[in-house]
Symmetry: C2
Subunit: 368 residues, 2 copies
């Protein structure tokens, strides 16, 4: 695997029982996946490191999309590299991604490109105001984004954000959702129920799944959108798509060609997790059809670790720590909550939330 | 952990998300737990190996009961060693174990001791015929046991089995059950539903859980028996007790002071597995109260590996491989089956069974 963070750690934890062993390429010291895999400590474009990965592996996958194109090409020329490098490449560029959505007829917020200050007016003519300016590359967790409410904001945003931008209409959405799709090497596809996501400062805080009050037509539309992308990208593995629900419609916001934070609930809320299904997909095992027996929630642990005894004492709480040192804004773990009904799950969320630093009340789901 | 086999592997897989890291003491090369832990490659009574374990660990636990008494004492003098060494010691000796059952008023088959040939008549006077002669030490998976139907059999069994023996009445049981109990360091206790177990040639083949048609009074009696043992042994961790159901009563057959093959279904059939609860117990986290949402089964993979693609393609099948080389009679993995009802689970068992070498039909549960 390229990357040795918490996603790689959870992929290995779920893949080892399937009979696999893992090696990760990771430049940072003492990575989370080190507890469950061999570590090749090198940069993602280090020739020797890549050669060691190719020699150690039967198949290559990744826990993040920003794999250098030359590294992906080197590996893909030598062994199966899944998802395909072209899918990583398009996901590295917000504009290319949005243009692909448009070509496939997938609804999005109106958007325009800003390569130079001269493009601002044209872009605003498409997006209108308010808009969101985003860097085309390397944005994550809300970084590289600025809300633009006026032409003055627009000029300032252009200066603050480096490189080419994309300007998108600011969507007054009812809620944020995501769909997790999995494609096998044999072309089979499975989908998890849509998840409702609550962010703060651009970082996911809480997910509720299945999305409360989920309309089967909305689920079908989410699967249709995901299916178009799986087909276009000749995809294999887990693909996550972040969506806005607005006026009963779904708008595609962005995609992640990997397992996704909004799917962590599947470790305890589904018969087979996104991590297991990703490993099944890239190692050519049949996919597990997701089954969900009740409501679930996921609460991220960010910046500071709560007392693990207190968390583990909450009924229905499942603790998942990443083995990382505490640091402000850093994702250190998550807690999944399961229960017989929504009230039990919400009670668990509230009790876990009290153990975390920060806001007094957790974000409420829209429908429970 | 003392021992680096599949039980240690599954303990580590479930304990790592709780934030722990593992080191195992294991003399055999390339142990199953090596994929998820540091390995100290040394004998269980190797002074340097034990010193390294004490230095590396905050708490010691084990995946088997036959820990040398001096090793257990060395470690317990230096750090918490759980379950307590005295519990391991009594479980190493079938006679001591049965005498403890008797002292606690726990029903067992009648039994007698055979230290020398002169004891045979006295033992048979207690056990009657048919009887089962068992070695007092180091028996497992049906090894070290002989069924005795006559006085001639008895003399031959005495010669065949080395060392002191125990003679037990042959119980014409209706079925074999087990109870898994967990005691926390704070004295809290939880119990899993009784499991129905099917053996062949002394090796567990299939478990069904909760035991089909389980009477709440039988569950309560199983928990009462387990509770007596937890209390007597000042226990911490998972304790498994194998039981016979005969004429509506439970007879205690033997105990294992560790996670147990008959509890492997809890990885997929319960909200928290026996492995997670054992690690919670010995690391002083609150126990998770077992909740079961439907029927489950476990099929052992013994001697030969089936095609993992075929197994993973069975609906409701959860594959757990141990990373061991195939060898006749060796436990290489297991498959858990879950489903919405008993029919789905049985269908899964039948389909997995067809993929395994050997008998044409799986053992049927008594009640489904």
């Amino acid at each position: 695997m390229l990357g040795g963070g918490q996603l790689a750690r959870m992929l290995a934890l779920e893949g080892i029982p399937l009979g696999h062993r893992f090696t990760v390429l990771e430049p940072a010291p003492d990575p989370p996946a080190g507890a469950v895999s061999e570590v090749v400590a090198a940069a993602y474009d280090d020739a020797e490191g890549l050669a060691r990965m190719a020699a150690a592996s039967d198949v290559i996958t990744c826990e993040f999309e920003n794999v250098p194109a030359r590294s992906a090409a080197y590996l893909a020329a030598r062994l199966p590299a899944l998802p395909p490098p072209a899918a990583l490449e398009v996901a590295q560029d917000r504009l290319a991604e949005k243009e692909m959505f448009r070509e496939l007829g997938i609804p999005t917020a109106p958007f325009g490109r800003i390569d130079s200050p001269a493009d601002i007016e044209d872009a605003l003519a498409v997006s209108g105001l308010p808009a969101v300016f985003k860097t085309r590359r390397l944005g994550y967790d809300g970084k590289g984004q600025v809300v633009v409410r006026s032409r003055g904001d627009a000029a300032r945003a252009r200066e603050k954000l480096a490189g080419p931008l994309i300007a998108e209409s600011f969507v007054a959405f009812e809620r944020e959702l995501s769909v997790l799709a999995v494609a096998g090497r044999d072309g089979s596809r499975v989908f998890y129920p849509l998840t409702e996501n609550h962010h703060a400062h651009g970082i996911l805080r809480v997910s509720y799944a299945p999305a409360p009050g989920l309309d089967p037509e909305l689920q079908a539309e989410g699967e249709r959108i995901a299916g178009l992308l799986l087909g276009r990208l000749n995809y294999c593995g887990v693909l996550a798509i972040e969506l806005f629900e607005a006026g009963g419609r779904l708008l595609a916001n962005e995609m992640a060609p990997r397992v996704h934070n909004s799917g962590h609930w599947t470790l305890d809320g589904a018969n087979a997790s996104q991590f297991e299904n990703h490993i099944r997909a890239v190692t050519d095992l049949p996919l597990a059809r997701p089954q969900v027996s009740g409501p679930a929630a996921m609460v991220n642990i960010i910046g500071e670790l709560p007392d693990p005894r207190a968390v583990a004492g909450v009924p229905g709480a499942h603790l998942h720590l990443y083995g990382k040192a505490a640091r402000p804004g850093r994702k250190l773990g998550h807690v999944n909550l399961t229960g017989r009904d929504a009230a039990e799950v919400m009670d668990g969320v509230a009790r876990v939330w009290e153990l975390l630093p920060g806001a007094a009340l957790p974000p409420r789901p829209t429908g429970w």
